[in-house]
Symmetry: C2
Subunit: 318 residues, 2 copies
């Protein structure tokens, strides 16, 4: 039996299928209207584009995982400002022979991930094209009168903090590249593969951080050193990280041994974990741990145990 394609059911058929999966009273007119839920709220927005073969592979990830990952990476940007994700837009270009289940699966992944915030799928666009390209825009709400959590706000004396795993996504990617498919990766490493296909993200950590006085925050999307350095440069400070606080765990060490790769590479340069990282003048808030201190030792740089990192490249989209 041949699978139904988006060419078979057409643009409006696909849109109807997506709206059935992710119903929203805000979806369906020319644009979505979002009402604020907190006084003096500001609106926060960000966008990311994912290209098949470059940012995801459908033989490595299910469409649901692709959708969830696209949502996570956008919501992490909203959370990094100390804001709460509330909505998303989903635009997709796909060849006519694309199975309907791929598009609806991606929508389901978006919706499932959105439920955790909760953030609704409030609009989108569906077009045909030679490549499968997804574009998500996320919206969030920054309540109250306080500042957003900018990269430029770290100060000497702050504690460097992190919430979430570091280098898990890169380890999963290395396993997939070596083994060729998720099924061929030894089952003991399943958690690393899962972290690559859809990173785990604990929502509300960004708003918690803002509420408890955290000063600067970003997410580990391009690579730990690259993302920490973005804070260092924007704030004109040095982030001094303790290697013991970010060291690969047993699972990463085992995967490194299996592949013959130093797992520090994943920790320092991996990216795509969407771990929240930043700095605070006080104790790390619930869910965050201390990984170092902020100093004025040397401007614009990151030091690990007082020395320049052994590896400092990051993942780039080109």
């Amino acid at each position: 039996m041949t699978e139904l394609t988006i060419g078979d059911i057409g643009e409006f058929g696909v849109i109807e299928a997506i709206r059935a999966i992710a119903p929203s009273a805000r979806n369906g007119d020319d644009a979505a209207v979002l009402t604020q839920t907190t006084p003096n709220a500001r609106f926060v927005t960000s966008t990311d584009m994912l290209v098949e073969g470059r940012h995801f592979r459908l033989d490595w990830s299910t469409p649901q995982q692709v959708g969830a990952k696209a949502a996570v990476q956008n919501f992490a940007d909203i959370e990094s400002m100390g804001a709460r994700p509330t909505a998303m837009l989903f635009a997709i270009s796909a060849p006519l022979h694309t199975p309907v289940s791929v598009v609806t699966g991606i929508a389901e992944g978006l919706w499932q991930e959105g439920k955790q915030c909760p953030a609704e799928l409030v609009g989108g666009d569906m077009v045909s094209g030679d490549s499968l390209v997804i574009s998500i825009s996320a919206m969030g709400e920054l309540g109250g009168l306080g500042r957003p959590l900018l990269r430029s706000a770290a100060r000497a004396g702050d504690t460097v903090i992190a919430s979430g795993r570091i280098g898990y996504s890169a380890a999963g990617l290395a396993l997939l590249q070596h083994c060729g498919s998720p099924a061929r990766v030894p089952s003991e490493f399943a958690q690393l593969v899962a972290a690559h296909c859809t990173p785990e993200f604990e929502y509300r950590r960004g708003a918690t951080a803002r509420a408890t006085g955290v000063r600067s925050l970003t997410d580990n999307s391009d690579g730990l050193v690259v993302d920490l350095r973005a804070i260092a440069q924007a704030s004109r400070v040095t982030l001094e990280v303790d290697s013991s606080a970010i060291a690969p765990d047993e699972l990463q060490i085992a995967a490194g041994e299996y592949l013959g790769i130093d797992p520090w590479e994943w920790v320092l340069t991996g990216g795509e974990d969407h771990t929240l990282i930043g700095s605070t003048p006080g104790e790390p808030p619930t869910g965050f741990r201390a990984i170092g201190t902020v100093s004025k030792e040397k401007f614009d740089s990151v030091l690990i145990d007082g020395k320049p990192p052994a590896r400092d490249a990051g993942w780039v989209s080109f």
Copy 2:
């Protein structure tokens, strides 16, 4: 001399070039923070994706025109809600051999069009991929406590209104398809070609409409009959349009004679004009004209001079 490509200067080089063209204090952190400028404002958002070869051709349009058109079609959706565009996000996937000037030209078109609102380019994403795909998300502000202008709000007795030209974009497309390039289109039709490459849009018409009591509003993006029928169906009414109020003008008639095409086809099915169309219980607001009346004659339909339209297809993305 070979032209500089985006592969030559890399992701961050391209992003720097775009930010130099469209500087914004809101751009550069994980997400953009938008402060509201009116009390009780709600946030309005919409997205559109454009694929090279499908939605634009770089031998027919300059990159600046492509950017401006992408902005217009998004801002028209914001204006159609009675809101004011305030910001946009710009995501682009492009092959590494793409000249830098194509990407910066698109950004310049976005910025130039945005200046008219004024709406800032507050963020984006740049990735490499096999096709040139642009995704714009527009944001706007709906001030005060009144309702947005929904398609579902037309009532029997309303006057059907329109602001802007109808069937100009489709006439320009037909000329380009026939003649092969803008340079080969007879100069007397330059205005039609220009309308296809970047439709003219008069900003603040949407907010004016809302302030003066207009009930329903949308934009002519898919085709006049299709877009009017969307109002008729959502509102469970009939839109009765006078043919004399939408008839092709002299320029369209001349182009129709030149091509051997009935210009009514462009008026009824063309789309992409982004003319604002809707209904109001009172007089048409400044900048709008009456084109018919709303009745309960028959649910969910559009009539031209009391009869079903001779043509009622619309442009679809598939």
